[in-house]
């Protein structure tokens, strides 16, 4: 399973070089990750509110290959790379939606936390809903 979201670059995201400031990619990855959870059958909002289960980012690796510019329409592809007892790793490819160019790749690892923000095992129902696939794009 691999999901896709789209995002049109807005003016707040672009810096004085005329390209997207690098920190903004992390927000798009977050949006894509939540969409993957939603399509897998659970919204992250419900995980937090109803199960008292949190996912906190523990590691980020991002490679920027080509710049994105104001008003560009982007596609973010997201998939599950690894599911451990206490963590999940997602892979990402950010592409220019019209030119089909790869702009960036990323890996984001999240730790599973309890309501008290201590490390906790991923509930089995959750890890079963997260189907690991081989990387469709090289991200390492």
């Amino acid at each position: 399973m691999q999901i896709e979201t789209t995002h049109r670059v807005n003016y707040s995201e672009v810096d004085q070089m005329g390209v997207v400031y690098h920190a903004n990619y992390l927000v798009w990855l977050d949006v894509a990750r939540c969409e993957l959870l939603r399509q897998a059958g659970m919204s992250y909002k419900e995980l937090e509110a109803e199960r008292g289960f949190f996912l906190a980012v523990s590691e980020v690796r991002l490679r920027y290959k080509r710049a994105a510019r104001y008003d560009d329409l982007l596609r973010v592809r997201c998939w599950v790379r690894e599911v451990g007892s206490r963590k999940v790793a997602f892979g990402y490819a950010v592409e220019h939606a019209e030119r089909n160019e790869l702009l960036a790749t990323a890996v984001v690892e999240l730790m599973s936390l309890s309501r008290e923000f201590t490390p906790a095992r991923l509930p089995a129902e959750v890890s079963q809903m997260l189907p690991v696939i081989p990387d469709p794009v090289r991200v390492d």
Copy 2:
């Protein structure tokens, strides 16, 4: 009482016109407001954590007069304009610290909320610590 904070414009704040993106000013105003509270004898963190007392922004008016640019050193002046039973209004002047130019003026009104996020009276100890002064700079 009027307080001052300084801020050096960073790369994330500047857009492709080469000037600070307008939404960023609101963060600087927030930082200055918290510094005023701190200098008045209470940190906003303690107000939230220990008294269960919250201030939520209910209104913002901002006038942009001159642009701020990357690496500019800015001065934000902040004062209390009005204290009501359930709200406080702060006035602001954002200046270029080296050229002493006025870049923007602002008014931000906040409502007092209880721990349940319902409107609540400003505690007397708090409103007494917030000395209203006449606007040192025209902000309306």
Copy 3:
């Protein structure tokens, strides 16, 4: 003419009160304003790149009425309030898309600038494409 955009609140936009941090609304308004220009027949990107014509925010008034929360789906309505020789004012209503509640109203004024960032008259072709309508929602 009045346009609508939608936005799902993401995790980066929410603060520790569990509600959207107030500065983020300005980005949504910007996105809606650019969409209005696009639907009126000109993209802001082209205005900048091809005509050397810039719109810089000169004034912002925002009233926050109800909080928006993580994962809420919002609707931003945007219209033209005034067109002058050198400035344009847009009106906005931010609504909860599912509950149809009004969350915030806003007015944003922009100045027309030349490629040298000096005040410039709005080109007639541009001002003709911006149809002023009476405020559908009270924003003052």
Copy 4:
């Protein structure tokens, strides 16, 4: 050579878990990197404006170890890890300034670009001013 900057966490940076949203660290790293360049004798602003020389982020690796919270005072340590003919890698440690705890480590690689945004050699005067040191903190 290793430089230090400090940053007090502001309200806009904290999410509904009550901890700093992970993307904000990248802005602090940027500020620290610019401060290192300034202390090494060249401001990044001048590099761009006077020499037409740009540094674009090409890779980011961040490990989050402990959370930062609202109003925490942080220390960001920054040093040069590698200087190549066309790229520079910086290492970072983000620490809680009062508790001296390590909160995060990072590596950010930047590519050298010409005014036309094509890859360009790092000018010798620049690379000579960037003294590589062994990592004072493990960042890999």
